[in-house]
Symmetry: none
Subunit: 231 residues, 4 copies
Amino acid sequence: MKGNRLAQGKRKIEILLVARDLFAKRGFDRTTMADIAEGVGVVESALYRHYASKQNLLFEAIRFSYEPIIEDVEEAARSIVDPLARVRYAIWRHLRAFAEEPELCRLVVLEARGLPDYLQSEIADLHRRYQAFLLQAVAEGVESGVFSPDVEPSLVRHLVYGTTEHVGWAVLLRSADLDVERLTDDLMAIIEPGLVRRGDVAHRLGSEVTRLANLVNEVARAVNDPAAAGQ
Amino acid sequence: MKGNRLAQGKRKIEILLVARDLFAKRGFDRTTMADIAEGVGVVESALYRHYASKQNLLFEAIRFSYEPIIEDVEEAARSIVDPLARVRYAIWRHLRAFAEEPELCRLVVLEARGLPDYLQSEIADLHRRYQAFLLQAVAEGVESGVFSPDVEPSLVRHLVYGTTEHVGWAVLLRSADLDVERLTDDLMAIIEPGLVRRGDVAHRLGSEVTRLANLVNEVARAVNDPAAAGQ
Amino acid sequence: MKGNRLAQGKRKIEILLVARDLFAKRGFDRTTMADIAEGVGVVESALYRHYASKQNLLFEAIRFSYEPIIEDVEEAARSIVDPLARVRYAIWRHLRAFAEEPELCRLVVLEARGLPDYLQSEIADLHRRYQAFLLQAVAEGVESGVFSPDVEPSLVRHLVYGTTEHVGWAVLLRSADLDVERLTDDLMAIIEPGLVRRGDVAHRLGSEVTRLANLVNEVARAVNDPAAAGQ
Amino acid sequence: MKGNRLAQGKRKIEILLVARDLFAKRGFDRTTMADIAEGVGVVESALYRHYASKQNLLFEAIRFSYEPIIEDVEEAARSIVDPLARVRYAIWRHLRAFAEEPELCRLVVLEARGLPDYLQSEIADLHRRYQAFLLQAVAEGVESGVFSPDVEPSLVRHLVYGTTEHVGWAVLLRSADLDVERLTDDLMAIIEPGLVRRGDVAHRLGSEVTRLANLVNEVARAVNDPAAAGQ
DNA sequence: AATGAATGAGTATTCATTCAT
DNA sequence: AATGAATGAATACTCATTCAT
């Protein structure tokens, strides 16, 4: 009699946590139901009382960890308005996820995506919800004229998540630490100039310069030739 | 007598191609030696005459497709000198690889990296050789003053390969087509301003503004206080 | 549904018995897990619920049959004191084992000993425990002066077990019967004179002869030379 | 082109030697045709040009090494006449075989005997020829009155070969050295008194006693009846 | 006499899942 | 809610042997 009877729901979550850690550490295929059962302290068949199958367990384990993060992001979507700040948040949040929950990331990035019916799965839905924030941020940035009209939201999505995951993955493999703040700054420094409307940085400066130049010329003329001034 | 006896070396390559396609389509774990043998038209044990193990077959399959690409890239490294053109080439080449050999990419990106001893494997070596080109291009760009001194080569590497793989992967999953030229242009448009020395675009404008502003102040003072003017 | 669900522990022993018989009849290498499973009436994988591996099954099968015999012998060690009777018991017990459990003997003698790590295995330990009885019997016999001081316990061990196994083996191969009592007597008849102290048989006669010879000489002298007699 | 074409018959023997060593070292089942082929320096299929099957190769390998020894023994049978000396020779020769060719012994004792059709095989024939010498020696010893009439030749055979093999086996397992001369002496010391006619030890003493007793009687009579004395 | 490709029947072991208790 | 016995389909890998060249 290894595993005690647990209050309803508690055992279910316990299984989830163990499964998530093992899937993350060893991968889905290389984790057995026996491993999970042993980790929980029950026999294999007990798992099936709570989850219909190994796949189902994977889905639930991912959702369990993924949903809080998504809610995080969706809240941020409401409180941050500046498009550039939103992009920055997306990068920062994703890097932090890798830094804080590397297992979950490995799970989603490597395991879930390899599954045959990934695109139709709930996991893909969660993924879409999670990334929708950035897509919308870019779209709005373009619309409001802050971002260049040439910027394609989906490309920015690939850029942001592709880059952060590539970084995160490298860090995970080497089990090194991830300097979230610094990486966010560095990445923003590279892409910001390419995102914002040329006007917003150079153009605004440019037209201001023109205006000033004209003004200066005018003034200068007035000073030199008082008779002509004001006419 | 399913498979005819083949000339020396030919069967070996045939197995490689079948294995690569299956590994890519279904993943390493979900591909069995029986699948491969059936694909080739021989019995399982025949595979072992040519490859010592399933892992070995995976390694050889990857190398077989990867090495020509690497040689491609290494040749480009010699013929392209402009740092920006090199970055563009890295993006373009990687996207083309995804467009032309999606199986190989799935293999390397998803399967090989998940293997327990990936970092020590020859595949990781190939990977490093392949990416060395971009790392060096950025480093040289920074050194020669074309790129901003703040640009971190390894971050650019993550950016370029992370983004292109993220794009490629999405395209692969949807089995859609990949517009290599357009994506290359778009991505370059976003990152180029962030890579090249700030001075080249905004700094020049900035100093012009300062000059003008000083001029205006001077003029303004002269107008309001003619006595002080010229002093 | 080939095999009924059995009460706890019963199936485990059932497997043991089937495995032992098959290992004994066909040898370890020539017995497959499939054979054993079929003999039990379950599928192969069911065996692994009870035994970790084929080797483990062999070890347990041997121990299961061997241990009772060893306890038998160890009890005898306490109840028999005469060294010669102990040697006789060792022969008799070993021959009886061959007569009653030929499979076990084939197993231990032929299969287990051929295993690569035999000397370090528990089976070798059981073997040592089993033979310790005879080694000690001879050593004590020598010490107490009943056996000749030249008798080497380990040689007697080789002699007793080597001979009985050779006999047993021949009988096994021909599936003939083994006349335990007669063989014990015959073997004892050959080795007993060589074991016991020469004195116990010949010496006593020898000294009697000397005494008589001296007496005769004395008498003869007295007869021939009456004057010297009585001095 | 690994293996050169060898003069007829030479390759055949080369294979035999390699096979014998491998069978002996690793056992029949644990030696593969590939192992043997590699040892010889040819491919597996080349072995079949010389030997019909793996079993056949085992038989030939054993015979090849066994026959010279048998001829040795058969020559000894002609030159040694004393029964006791013959028994001693059998022990000594068998121990020497173990000391000099442990591989062959392992082969014959452990591998060949486990084969399903051992009794009908040529190897069993060789075995019988080899042991015939001792059987006959004992039979003749009994017949000529040197050995006790109770001595069973086949039991002596079991005793001699069983004991020597048991010794040899233990030595082989521990890869220790075998003191052939000493072991021969020690074993002979134990069994000789049991083999030779009791008379040769006790009977001689017995007849001496009888002679003395007669003498005493004679003397006694002479004393009592002086007139009859000396007649 | 030898090669190298190919076969087919194994071979122990794994594992998700089911089911009676 | 949990156990433990049992299943069956797989799974990578082995190996003696055959055959065309």
